[in-house]
Symmetry: C2
Amino acid sequence: MDNFTFHNPTRLHFGRGQIEQISSEIPTDAKVLLLAGGGSVKSNGVYDQVKAALSERTVIEHWGVEANPDFDTLMPAVRICREKKIDWVLAVGGGSVLDGAKFVCAAAPYAGDPWSLVEDFGSSITSALPLGTVLTLPATGSEANSASVISRRAMSLKLPFMSPHVFPQFSILDPETTFSLPPRQVANGIGDAFCHVVEQYLTFPTHAAVQDEFAESIFRVLIKVGPKTLADPTDYDARANLVWAATCALQGLVGCGVPHDWSSHMIGHELTALHGIDHARTLAIVLPNLLEAQRATKREKLLQYAERVWGINAGCEDERISQGIEKTREFYETIGIPTRLKDYEVTADVAPIVAARLAGRGMGAIGEHADLTPDRIEAILRAAA
Amino acid sequence: MDNFTFHNPTRLHFGRGQIEQISSEIPTDAKVLLLAGGGSVKSNGVYDQVKAALSERTVIEHWGVEANPDFDTLMPAVRICREKKIDWVLAVGGGSVLDGAKFVCAAAPYAGDPWSLVEDFGSSITSALPLGTVLTLPATGSEANSASVISRRAMSLKLPFMSPHVFPQFSILDPETTFSLPPRQVANGIGDAFCHVVEQYLTFPTHAAVQDEFAESIFRVLIKVGPKTLADPTDYDARANLVWAATCALQGLVGCGVPHDWSSHMIGHELTALHGIDHARTLAIVLPNLLEAQRATKREKLLQYAERVWGINAGCEDERISQGIEKTREFYETIGIPTRLKDYEVTADVAPIVAARLAGRGMGAIGEHADLTPDRIEAILRAAA
């Protein structure tokens, strides 16, 4: 097991009716910026619950944070924080709203160019406004970690940043608030959480037995409850297990003391930046082909994955690995996420463009062994055509 | 899944050489109370590493915290904190030293009778000195939770308390510092951690899929690495997995959103208070017979436990349950922990005494269904003779 530091101070309130906890989490004299996306939280009752919990607090609302939150959408919120002397930010929505809020919290007190906070991956962040979140879409894990991904469409960019200063102070996870989500968004959440675990698990063995078992646990839960909660969105327990699995997938325990990959995410971000494909769908396009390309270096973990997650014990080792990868592709297809570029009307011409863009930002050799070079990234995307 | 709040702010530094992290965790101008047990940390090099990391800080040492830390041993440390205006407490040792330090941290700023903080299970604690820990014995999980168990031998008492104020600010877990432990203490740690997971898992189903999987994960890791690390104490990976499994067993994720039992602990504490039996050994005495006595109400989880943890699929349900319980007893015996009262030269006469003592402190009906009444507790201990 590798050395690590684990720290996750976010207080998580999970379950029915937990939105009322906001009233004890945010000081009554706080001036609050409520950050949200579209109007869905108004139609499903979440907004009313949030307003009731905020009661007498001064609240300024800022709506319109989109999927893949954009720098240019968020900067007005940053200016509001500065001009109105906001004390707290409350993000109400899915991972995009939460990621956007993390940027707002970090940028508001920052004197320099806010985009530089993203460009240097968060390393310049030394303080941030306190953040609370009400999560309405299980997917990204942003409710319980210190990471964020920000897009800048004007520059065709989508970049991650991390900072311990942007851990939410608290997050509310009420599975009932997710009942009204469109199936496509639920499926995307399942697929995103699944890939988060892959990125922290499917590398090479470091004898981290607990982490491996926890990762395999989350895979099995997602495989079991994913199709179930899509078929019956108001089955509370199935949805609750999806919500909690998605949070546990990226709150730190699965990934501590082990190598990480994140290549599928890095390649996928480019597909979103270039073609606007949903984040989870880019992962479904990249992942099976990336695993195929890396089957030699990921060999031991692919065998473990095939056996412990998919119950594949028969056949020679190469066959078991192939079956495990095929099961992964089938899983995405089963929950309604196509896994080929052509399903999104994108051709293989994108392959060299993505490889060159990554190389241009210093990602010319990614993956746990830094062996995914531009030519190999290009080959992965060509195989995904 | 039941509603829950999960919060665990402790920063965990895990791995070789991590003791040096103390130097960045405790302010350089802090006046530190170093709390420790016997001299083992001096002979195994831990003390030297700690002193080097504390470097120029003012340090007052207080030694002699015993297994099952005693109120009367700890009160002199409380007085030192007050008289010397201590800013930070650093606990160096196993769960007993850490539990004792939590009491010292809470009692030092408390104006009332310190014992009342224990008697009311921690509910009066409103502040505490900041605590850091260097864990040298994987077992209790105290390094990453807000619980403590304090004994008062003068009154033959052993009582738990909890408070969010006593979460350690940080904990250091270097598996190498545990290489020199006597096998008996390592075995006790394995047995203690195993029972912690039982108490949070073997109740009744609440469709908490992730929590169940995480619990079963820790069982499987302990079953696998327990005997291995006892046989080869300097196998780093085996010991590292034991240390991390013991921490994860009681840091909160396994037990959130599910019913808890803790009856084996409550009954076991009385055996320690009356006869001085090691904590983990009292659990080994109580647990198999408690599971037998509760096989009706724990039926569904006992079946799940037998199958997923021990791989027991054959036979009728009652047989599978019996086999799962027997496997549990065998596991304790395999790691060198006898499971009968007579192995500790204690007779069944203790049974009514324990039952009466628990009832006398308001624990006349314990367990997840509050159905373990004095007569049933007595029967469990008679069966353990």
